[in-house]
Symmetry: D3
Subunit: 159 residues, 6 copies
């Protein structure tokens, strides 16, 4: 028993920056649920199924972390799963303002709290979209994502 | 006689945050013109006609406020209507930088001043796009927009 | 058993904004330790003893919250008390940058995590120093601080 | 009759950046009251009397601008003078956050609105403290402050 | 011999703000290479060929500046051309955060340094997209871009 | 011959973050002059002489870097030494705004350019004042400053 932190995101694909946040959240809460957002109005590189599978492989050695997927409002998903508070990594000040607005809306809609965890300095420049852009042009992403994600990226891009 | 403040925006749809700014601007200037932008390159949820009508209903009890619509450069519209200064609500620091650039450009193009009014803390998390996203997924928007706007949102989304 | 969140601060004096954060942290963790900083190089309005007493009265009805005081490095205090993660409220983007640097230093010094909780919009303008400035010039602080703090402020200022 | 905008500040000393804001505010409102803050806990370079005199000389050709001085809460001064809204120039994003907090506090304390006017780009780097620092080390401040202020600065520094 | 600074950008079209940065970079380094990005996933107003030609005409009187074009990763282009460090103009704080992430990624990918040069205050409001928006609606862009760029804009928009 | 970059600062004391910037600047310019500011109105922990000596030991293996000291306006020092552009490391967005104002003032006063270099992510949390605070309370600063600086800190604090 106890609190399950909810780490939501698109994870297209998961990076070492995400894993740093998930691992540290796993040390602060009894359990962590990683929630993969399925956004019908966006065109991701990897399907929800692929994103969940890559995450599951990446967090395999963290016994109190599990991975799920959701559509629609995050607060509904939190309620259904009995999860909360929401825990998010934050890289930049610019992100922070938008995230604060989301957090205040989620608090109003569902009484769910959001806690922010600063990204480790060594991953502060890292994002899924930047990783995809680097991979698209043949740059080296080793050390930025887990090895199985690197392989999946090369496969997608090379096809 | 006297100055007419110009409150421009897309208002797709008007929120309680917009109405807070319009009402407070109406207390600082002789008259207020709410200018609804018709942007041909964007796909709004509500037509200009619908947006103007929703605004007119919402500001009905403010005797020195009227609603209009415009295309193209804001400074031209301000000149044609004899309105100025421009008054805008500001939520976040990130908005502020872009808005300052617009204000400086408008000053150069037409000598029109822009004044910023900080959003009331209770609406600081509110935006038209967040309201639409909540409504799209069946979340409750009561208290975030006027009641006739809430009904219009439900109708659009439910169709 | 479980995790004790540590809410550090100067609390000179505690405001309703601080209490909002402490109360919400108490809902996210098994226990909360409020740590009052005794900074020998600063001249506070209230002594550490007074600040602790005002906090204890203010959190009296929160059964999983206790109040303590510390000098020196926060990470040492966290270790001694077996407390962590650190939980801090954040009002502004400007605060955020300094706090992130502190969080990264504390992580390096003692492996302690810091989680940030956005201040409720209704208290976003509130700080101990602003409250003291208002009280100093005879402004009304009712509703900004608990009633026993308001009385203590009037007494200090009036003397 | 009509609204009197209140432009508060320390003006130690007035710069061309301040005068740009005051002049533009004078074009947006019926009248402008420039309020010079007498802050007993700070050690200004120029006395309140000197600061008011320098301002009066600088705004002499703006017929709807007058200069006054105040101590204590700005909202009390606004009430006493029948002035409002408050109009402030803003240079930087960092200033903006603090100013928003002050504006929200002033709204709560006295129902007074605050409007922000972006500093003209050509004065965006200018502040009273930077001008004093330049003058202190013998740098040229011509073109940054009115000529009578430049002379007063040289006199103070040279003594 | 010596260092060649690399000024990358989309330049769709080049503005007086870009030229200010390029000219000042030309005074700080032995040579400057202006690198025009050909981004296949974006729809520019002017072709790469047109953008390069407009730049070449604009920098014609700067003897140590040349213009090139590239696709893909900036660090590869820098390596191929033996150019570095990267020099970028910065207008706003919001830009700065994204640019810092790019700079850190480029440092990791290719060991290339990035130096930022603050935009001159008089161009702080200027961007290619704002210029295009003004031109699209018949606003005057004289003084914001070189004259040959102004003509090219009018031609494109008028067609 | 060629350009000498000027890296100014208080360096009280020099940290590994400063050395990272100085070393990278030494790779971008023909020579680097590190300028230690002697600010008579501040009370540093180390004298100018000590700060210069610590820097000289720290940069001893960089053949194109030398260390000096100055009082008063930075632009005068740059002129006297024939140095420029100014190169500064930047950690945070909040720093950036103040630094941009200084850069614009220095450009106006002396035509001197300023270039900013983003601090390496691993030192983004590091500042002289934070190092002194940690050392003051007996925290470990190994790995944050060069070893001879660590010893000097311990000596000063322990006395």
């Amino acid at each position: 028993m106890g609190l399950t932190a909810l780490c939501p995101g698109t994870f297209d694909p998961v990076t070492n920056g995400h894993l740093d946040i998930i691992g540290r959240a796993a040390g602060c809460f009894d359990a962590v649920l990683v929630g993969v957002l399925e956004n019908p109005s966006k065109q991701p590189l990897f399907s929800v199924k692929e994103r969940v599978a890559m995450l599951e492989e990446a967090v395999g050695d963290l016994s109190n972390v599990r991975v799920g997927a959701f559509r629609g409002l995050l607060v509904k998903y939190a309620k259904e799963e009995g999860a909360g508070p929401i825990v998010k990594g934050l890289r930049a000040v610019t992100d922070y303002e938008f995230e604060i607005q989301m957090a205040q809306m989620n608090h109003r809609l569902g009484g769910v709290e959001t806690l922010f965890m600063p990204t480790s300095p060594r991953w502060s420049f890292l994002s899924s979209s930047l990783v995809k852009e680097v991979a698209r042009f043949g740059g080296e992403v080793e050390g930025l994502v887990p090895d199985h994600v690197r392989k999946a990226l090369v496969e997608k891009m090379g096809a």
